[in-house]
Amino acid sequence: MRLPLLALLAKEPAHGYELKQALEVTFGSAYPSPNIGQIYVTLGRLEKDGFVRAVDVEQSNRPNKKVYYLTAAGREALEAWVDEPTEGPRVRDEFFMKLVLAPLTGIADRMALVNRQRRHYLSLMRDLGELAERTDPGNRVARLLIEGAMLHLQADLDWLERCQEDLT
């Protein structure tokens, strides 16, 4: 959450609620809607680290609101984030832990574990397919997020098949 907020503030100063709205508009329904409390907590930490600063803006009949803007240190942190390659997905799968460890304890059958997991992945895929149908075709960001999630799921299923071939 920290760096996306810095990126939004690099465009223009904003208060917390505006940042929440900007995230929602940009990513659409394919991305979990950010919690406003979480945004304020993150902004507080960014302020403490010197990456953003806040100014109080007076409002008539309402409490002052804090408008945040990016500092030079904040811009540097943002540039460093953009410039470095992003870690690829790591195979550190909770299901794999279950699959490997369960038979040692005698509490579960590997075949049953794999079968249940496959059906769960297919349920997730069906959900994604329905989400894709509901998503505005013009929202390319949301569409690509869903497509990415689908491709990850396909890879998970292919890997599950390999696990079933080799471990059961």
Binding site: S29, S33, N115, R119, L128
Partner: protein, 252 residues
Amino acid sequence: MWPAVTSTPVIRATGLVKIYQTGGLPVPAVRGVDLVVEPGEFVAIMGPSGSGKSTFVHMLGGLETRTSGEIWLDGKRADTLSESGWAVLRRQKVGFVFQFFNLVTNMTVADNVELPALLGGASPKHARERREYLLAELGLEERAGAAPGQLSGGEQQRVALARALANQPRLLLADEPTGNLDSRNTRDVLKLLGKVHRQGQTIVLVTHDARVASMADRVVSLLDGQIVDDAPIARLQRRPGGTAGDIVELHG
């Protein structure tokens, strides 16, 4: 449009076995499979390559003979039929879609789609109407006069699907129908499969594509020629106000 729904399963296979005899060594491909498919059901068959899934659906369509076991299609014993008996049964009751379209290259798209209806005994007028309906459903009405070679892969696969549905089969069988398609063309085929399924079409298809399988009511998993799982695909329990965004986060 569909025969009255009865309690007769569209497919009932029991103890189905296929052993290939290659150079003296018997190689079992399918080792005792039981499957019942009710009218209107959509069943996806999954499994690693070599698990026997293609052999299995080919036997269900009479494209391969079984070594032992029984196949009943729409209440009629089918495994004891001769090759010509199977051909008649397929014309009347089964549509088949393959990974590589198998369209007749020197016939137009329209003729490719009309042929099975004509072979199935439909009048030329009925066959033409059915073809016009299917090609329109698939957004292909303007391609009717084209040769298959002039079409993209996705268009050819849609034509293959139209052909398989031309004689209004009791059963649609498919073997990796999207295996050769890119993501956009896969979406077109998925849409049509979803549509005919909602209209009551019984479908059994082999696929490794999770998007295709996720549209099924039920997934059957094969491993080493045997069924290791046969169960419905459950609906996800939705949390109030939850969006699939949570899924994106899980897998992003």
